[in-house]
Amino acid sequence: MVEQNLGDKAHPGATRPPGAPPPDLTARQVRRMKRFDNPWRNPKLIWGAGLLLSIVALGILGRLFWDTDLVFTGSGMPRQAPVGVENIRGQIGSWAHPLGTDVSGKDLLALLIVGAPNSLYVGVLASLIGMSTGIFLGFTAGFVGGRTDDVIRVLSDVMITIPPLLILVVFQAAYGDISLTLMALLIAAFVWQSPTRLIRAQVLSMREAGYVQMARLSGASTGHIMFREMMPNLVPYLFGSFIANVTTSIVTAVGLEVLGLGPQRIPTLGRVIYDAINSGALIQNLWWWWGIPTLLLAVMFIGLLLINLGLDEVSNPRLRRL
């Protein structure tokens, strides 16, 4: 009921006019129909989560089975190619560095083991903080209304016009070396506005719903109504918004890192790409140096996209195709 309201996107092909007889279903479609009894068992969602988990697994298993100290300068011979591949000097890559090394002798596998989860970490942390702020402010604005609403609305409307990368570039250039967490905090300052606006809009439409009125008549507190009565109805929607925010945060973080403005000594995927560009990796044909991190970023983004699509289907049954 509420869910249909939420995912009210134009999708005429998937809807059928009210009162029309149900179409004839094949056995296969019936099976799939049954599976939708549990909307969370969505293939896109599962594939997306699988891809993201593979990055997390890379981080965990890698730390168990590989020496992460190899991320530091001078850990091995520079410019080694991946196993079995020949580099520009005719040296064949060995198992000592399965994915090769960069020009400073940093082991690429170790860089990925440490760097990929770091990039994900920044995205998730920034998004968590941004979403929490957004949920709190959005509910407050929508439910409390009045002056509070005005202040929050104007604040988020103003903030949404500021291009985050510009501010972050200036800030980081001035500040120099920063930690991952600080970078996540900085990014979080720019990802709370749109959840705030969207949640406020949802809350405004929900505020007059019967169950909310009922709760209010029963004397429930504002906090209780907001977070116990209304929020559960928004969960799939919040998830979707959260994932979209993670994507934005990672893109912002990688953008900063590729400009050389991220943490200096802590490996991240963006930093690896920055070093590669900066040291002439393209002309030296060190494709593993910039190629593999780019591939991992692609995996990460595809995973996030699939989760987002999956969540869309969870929250909006009309999107589910039989």
Binding site: F72, T73, G74, P78, R79, I88, R89, V103, S104, G105, V169, A173, G176, D177, V258, L259, G260, L261, Q264, R265, I277, N278, S279, G280, A281, L282, I283, Q284, N285
Partner: protein
Amino acid sequence: MTRMTQVLMTTAAVTLALTGASGAQDVPREDTVIFDLDRTIRDPENFNWMTDGTGIRRMHGAHQTMWEPLFILNYGTGELDPWLATGFEANADSTEFTVTLREGVTWSDGEAFDADDVVFTTQMAMDNEELNAREVATIRGQVASVEKIDDLTVRFTLNAPDPRFMVENFGVRIFGSFLIMPEHIWSAAENPATFTFNPPIGTGPYEFTSAASNRAIWDRRDSWWGAETGFMEMPEPLRVVFLESGGEESRAQLLANNQLDAGQNLSVGTFEAIRAQNPDTIAWYADYPYAVADPCARQLEINTTVAPWDNANMRRAVAHIIDRTQIVNIAAEGATTPSRTMFPEYGSMAPFIDAVVEAGHGLPATADVEAGQALIEAEGWVRDGDYYTKDGETLAVEIHVNSASTEYTRTIDMVVEQLQRAGIDARSVPVENSVFWGEVLPFGGYEMTYSWLSCGSVNEPWASMGRYTVADVVPVGERSPGFNNTARWDTAAAEAYSAIVNEMSSMPLGDPMIPQMVAEAYQYLDAEMPFIPLVQAFKLHPFNTTYWEGWPSNDDYYNHPFFHWNSGHQIIHNLERAE
């Protein structure tokens, strides 16, 4: 930060540079020589080189094509090649220098270049404290008076004996020289510190055509005094372009595609990759390691006013921890050698380097981490996990590094790693080129940084040693005169050091006592380490022979290959169109 934008914009910039600005006539590519610029032209409309501490108002072509020096020090022969001057004489105690100017030299507007210009420019440098370029500050510090003897003769009287006066100020010993400005134009300026000298004129065979933040274009004049007097023929290139290439990758692509004729410093790997694509690319040596050392040996600068690095033992600890061989192998890819002293490892410097090493003050090629850690522990620091701590404070250091070249960042990454492993929480702080030279270095706004500020000596020891005397110490926040003693080293040992160095300054070149005195003074540097010499410079300047031949190399050693120096005139004159 702007690196990425530059990479994207470079192709557009090349097209622009080749076609020239609006109004300029078209010059075919084969008559154009394109040099690389490793920094942005901050203020392309301003040609007052005297108020620019970073050198960009000269190295974008102005002092390679338009403004000529009096002499050029030839690194191959060790002699001063005469240019605008024909010779000089010094009195017995090196306090008076009489320079003879060349006859027939004219400015590009037809006015004669003569003693009036030299006297006027020198006097202007002496009278205006705001003119802060290094060469101007040096003249101001050394010259007591200057007088015109006749139209072609000028006499400088110095404050103190200085046998190196001519080579240091007028000989393009390193990077620049004190450039003579036209009196008939500058005398009309109300305030030389705010004068922009636009349009600029010079005596050189090229005149200014146009400039933007990423390029400057210079076109050959129809006539030049040198060709008229028989000094030299007209140079062959009709147009000289200095183009900001924007980093290693785009520099490499431009060279590989023949869109750049001379490149700034590259790493060995990148150079080899370019050569694999474009066999017309050459460097100083035909084979590995390709690179040549300029006289500016690399070092870790330390601000001796900031705790805990105000403690000499802590600085010595860092010196012990640094592994020069690893820097050579990893950061320089074997293209250089570890420094033993502050001096460049030139044959002409060997007597002084040997004296220092024999006295036991030379630096080792590898690290002695335990000795370094013992020094740190003796100062009360205790290793707690990864790092040393004292009174709840972690032993940390921020190393500012100019982000303009991967040489700098890679070397400092290596140093940071070595310090980290020894228990010091070191971090590198990349800084944009003009901020680095304009704000961080001269005002002491750093704990440690990577540079080459003891640069100066080529064939005698004083030029380098004289840069760390107590006379040049200023408080943090004030500009160090000529980047001298930015370490702000002023302890009792520094006083003792300065006394010996000052005594040395007036002694004639080649005095047999000098090596002994160098070693004696060097004990104080060794004991207090106001800076830590790292490795010799490694300059791999790639040249492209597709359009132009006659680039300097070890086989054709008419002079060194540093085309961004004031000696770039010689390179341009030596170029011949490739057939």
